[in-house]
């Protein structure tokens, strides 16, 4: 299995560029800026400086002793992306893209957002770099992540509520793409995950790989060896790709966790488990769709996983068997979130809770002496209202 895409951005059969012609030149420009930047030691130094001095990297690798003990199995380590400035892994990517935007001489940013974390991360770098910024967000997500909406506004960003379709992430991306088509000459579209047309999947994964690179060094420092298993939640797939990629050539098992929502037989967002290849949002990848190629609405309590697509590299990893993809229901995620919160005092994002749930399961199966690294992709502050509503509607779910 190749670990890098071809020149056209194909990861095996997946990826590519399926966008209106208007955008192709901007993608060419971006691709060129990106590959030049990656060969430019000044750019890399500046990226590294911002990661350290602004985001607060390296993020901790935390040995969750109490949780591991409560589970009674493998040692669970949490890669604490929740401690980053703005509270999630999303900023790793937006800093990189903001630097590229400046390099390309553009002054405006647009972005889509689901959970609002990518929107906040984009609004943040827009403020830091003195750029204008507009973020598209589905009306449903505006409702359930109102905290992040206000954060973006305080950062000086205009939040555009998207009322079309399922009024979630998918529709926000549609709207952002439409806006980009209309503004492409002075505007960069900061895509928030390893999705979209080439070079986005490669570029976002590259900026997010700092997660896996750090984790690799840290876990060896903690345990003297590589971990047995990596676990990460998969929405678009950026935190997972960032954690997994640096370990691809190693003898390390990897599990990506999709949102099973209300269950795989009901409403869910388990694209890799239940979708089939198709074209959505600029790339060929697994997609939740009906027999006739209409995109289906996804469902997850967690806004950041509520997406019927997935990054093309994950599709390759799935088909090649390199990564195993499983899913976790809303209820299981909430239970794991509360268990982590009560044992470790760490309130994680609902998205991340999907990974925690799977890690707990795997820790039991792997047993003592094994090591699991979980990407704790974000903090849970943004989710307390939504959790509240869920726990009120599912009183049995309270631990």
């Amino acid at each position: 299995m190749p670990t890098e895409p071809d020149a056209g951005g194909h990861f095996g059969d997946f990826g590519g560029r399926f966008v209106p012609e208007t955008l192709i030149p901007a993608l060419d420009q971006l691709q060129q800026a990106f590959s030049e930047a990656m060969a430019d030691s000044d750019f890399l130094a500046e990226l590294d400086r911002l990661n350290r001095e602004y985001t607060g990297r390296p993020s901790l690798l935390y040995h969750a002793r109490a949780l591991s003990q409560a589970v009674g199995g493998a040692d669970i380590y949490l890669k604490r992306e929740d401690l980053n400035h703005t509270g999630a892994h999303k900023i790793n990517n937006t800093i990189g893209q903001a630097l590229l935007t400046r390099r390309m001489g553009k002054r405006k940013l647009i972005a889509e957002t689901g959970a609002g974390q990518h929107g906040v991360a984009t609004a943040t770098v827009a403020a830091l770099f003195g750029m204008e910024c507009e973020v598209f967000m589905g009306a449903e997500d505006v409702r359930r992540q109102s905290l992040n909406v206000r954060r973006m506004e305080l950062l000086g960003t205009r939040v555009r509520t998207v009322e079309s379709g399922s009024r979630t992430l998918k529709d926000a991306i549609n709207e952002a793409l439409r806006a980009w088509v209309g503004s492409v000459q002075d505007t960069h579209y900061v895509i928030g995950s390893v999705m979209g047309p080439h070079p986005f999947p490669l570029m976002v994964r590259t900026f997010q790989s700092v997660i896996g690179q750090e984790a690799r060094t840290q876990v060896v420092a903690h345990t003297g060896r590589l971990p047995d298993l990596l676990v990460a939640a998969v929405g678009g797939g950026s935190n997972a790709a960032g954690l997994f990629h640096p370990f691809l050539d190693d003898d390390v098992a990897m599990v990506g966790v999709e949102a099973a929502g209300e269950g795989l037989e009901a409403r869910h967002a388990a694209t890799l488990s239940r979708g089939r290849p198709g074209v959505l949002h600029g790339a060929r990848s697994y997609v939740l769709q009906d027999d006739e190629g209409q995109i289906q609405e996804a469902h997850s309590l967690s806004a950041g996983l509520d997406y019927p697509g997935v990054g093309p590299e994950h599709s390759l990893w799935k088909d090649s068997g390199r990564v195993q993809y499983v899913s976790c229901t809303d209820q299981q995620a909430v239970t794991a979130l509360i268990q982590l919160s009560r044992t470790e005092g760490v309130l994680c994002a609902l998205e991340s809770a999907h990974a925690v749930a799977e890690a707990i399961k795997q820790a039991r199966q792997l047993g003592p002496g094994k090591t699991i690294v979980v990407c704790l992709s974000g903090r849970g502050d943004k989710d307390v209202d939504e959790l509240n509503r869920f726990l009120e509607a599912h009183p049995d779910g309270q631990v």
Partner: protein, 264 residues
């Protein structure tokens, strides 16, 4: 090689000293019968070709008017069968060379494209299929003698325009996007239209049709010396929405005005 229906239609308009008029309608908005009736009105108004849209859940190249049309059709459960039925009926009733506008994913979900050819489709307009991408669909279309219509946009470089000219199907045309943006009626002729057409003309041999934001006769008149065809979608759908039961006559009259405006 015999001339394609599309080529013939462009050639005839040219011979008449005017731009070819290509109205766009969304299949099944709000019913198959309505779309067929409106297509007949277009033909009666003097349209040269007709373009029918396949409603799609995620039309990223479309503005509010066509998004809404797509959504209305989906809400009426217009699926593949209904689209094929619409295409076949439109083709039968109007006899016009027919283009299918579809996003890629519904086409990828078909085992093969022959039902389209059987329904009378002459060319495919796929807004999210970029030039570089050559999925199996291009080969299939070629085998079926279905033209795949390439796009050119104001941002397209000379280099790419040349590539487009080189790869455009001989029997087809190039869809020139008049502006930076999505579909939807605009005031006046979008400023990007003429410069693009003039650049494209130098590098592309096949006919050039201009679309996106063409609002009515005035815009057609302004563009008719530089374009070989005009595609009018959102403006038409706006009229249908506005006039309801009277739409058939309005559409016929409107298309007639477009045709009149298109004489050079």
């Amino acid at each position: 090689m015999a001339k394609s229906d599309i080529e013939i239609a462009f050639a005839q308009a040219k011979a008449a000293g005017r731009v070819a008029v290509i109205p766009f309608l969304m299949a099944g908005d709000p019913s198959v019968a309505d779309t067929v009736r409106l297509a007949e009105a277009c033909a009666a108004g003097g349209a040269d070709l007709i373009e029918i849209g396949w409603p799609f859940s995620d039309p990223i190249a479309d503005g509010p008017t066509i998004q809404a049309a797509s959504q209305r059709a989906l809400d009426q459960h217009i699926g593949r069968d209904e689209v094929l039925e619409t295409l076949a009926l439109v083709h039968q009733r109007t006899g016009l060379p027919m283009l299918l506008l579809s996003y890629l994913n519904p086409l990828l979900s078909m085992a093969n494209l022959s039902p389209l050819r059987a329904a009378g489709v002459a060319g495919l307009v796929i807004p999210d299929l970029a030039l570089e991408q050559t999925p199996a669909i291009r080969t299939q279309a070629q085998e079926l003698d279905l033209a795949v219509i390439p796009f050119a946009a104001p941002t397209t470089t000379e280099q790419r325009l040349a590539d487009i000219g080189r790869t455009a199907d001989r029997g087809a045309f190039v869809y020139c996007v008049s502006l930076l943006g999505v579909t939807g009626s605009r005031q006046g002729l979008p400023a990007g239209a003429l410069p693009l057409l003039q650049r494209a003309r130098k590098l592309i041999d096949v006919p050039l049709a201009v679309g996106f934001g063409i609002s009515g006769p005035q815009a057609v008149a302004e563009v008719c010396r530089d374009a070989d065809g005009v595609i009018v979608g959102s403006a038409l759908i706006d009229i249908v929405q506005r006039d309801g039961r009277q739409a058939v006559e309005s559409v016929q009259r409107f298309v007639g005005e477009l045709v009149q405006a298109g004489y050079r």
